[in-house]
Symmetry: C2
Subunit: 161 residues, 2 copies
């Protein structure tokens, strides 16, 4: 049973289970190897809806395994998960978060609350379209657009208005 699941009023265990199920399906479909280690790291990334640092995951992993794992263990698993689109890296936080819609095309857009730390993936086509338009005007060939918006989520605005 994973720790610290119910941050608000939703069944986070369900989020985790869902994410793992989708990951299993996607990797099977692609012939990618979602090994026990990688699966476990994915689960630890999904501990909450807050982006998690590699070393936080490392600590959890060490605790679970009863022995201290090496940073590379986690970084390699994360690399795989990011490649498969199961996890995103938040550049402005040096942290990782589970992808809300793996399998679908995603361009990596996030609303990050500076109060509670939660990050919500938005992937809105309008932002992507705006970026594509401007890039086209300048002859710039887009490869990987990163959008990370810091601010305050609705809940946190209500708490301290």
């Amino acid at each position: 049973m994973p720790a610290a699941t119910n941050p608000a009023n939703h069944d986070h265990d369900h989020c985790i289970a869902d994410a793992l199920t989708r990951a299993d399906a996607l990797c099977a479909e692609r012939g990618a190897r979602l090994t026990a280690l990688r699966r476990q790291v994915l689960e630890l990334v999904w501990t909450s809806h807050r982006p998690r640092g590699a070393y936080a995951i490392l600590e959890d992993l060490s605790q679970r395994e009863g022995k201290s794992a090496a940073p590379l263990t986690v970084y390699r698993a994360l690399e795989f998960l990011v490649e498969q689109g199961l996890v995103h890296r938040l550049e402005s936080l040096n942290a990782y978060i589970g992808c809300a819609a793996p399998g679908a095309v995603h361009s990596g857009q996030f609303l990050v609350c500076e109060a509670c730390g939660n990050a919500v993936e938005i992937d809105d086509p309008r932002i992507r379209a705006a970026i594509d338009t401007i890039a086209a005007e300048r002859g710039f060939q887009v490869d990987r657009p990163t959008v990370e918006v810091r601010g305050r989520c609705t809940d946190c605005q209500e708490k301290t208005p």
Copy 2:
């Protein structure tokens, strides 16, 4: 005389001089202290149009001064410059770049070429508008939007099509 100025066909010395002049004016206007050290770090950030890491700047600074400076020296100067809007931090690169339009409101948008390393500040209102729209729809209060688009600039596309 700064090193490695003319990357392409523009007078980069002019870019640097310009940036310093504007910085002087802005800081004077605001009563902010652009000290010799900070001014020098700003100049080193402007070495090229490629984002530069703090430690690269540190190295240059040490060389200029003839003695090795401490990381904090550079980080503190950079912090000041970022606060004043004279320099931006590129989150996805852990690097810093001179602001193209200090004084004006800017939301920090960049096109970063993965081939030549150059980064161009765009600050396009359409991207900002798209972000604001989506944030408003979700009740998210925007504080600091970060947009960093990786890809290939026109020049580099021509070189290897």
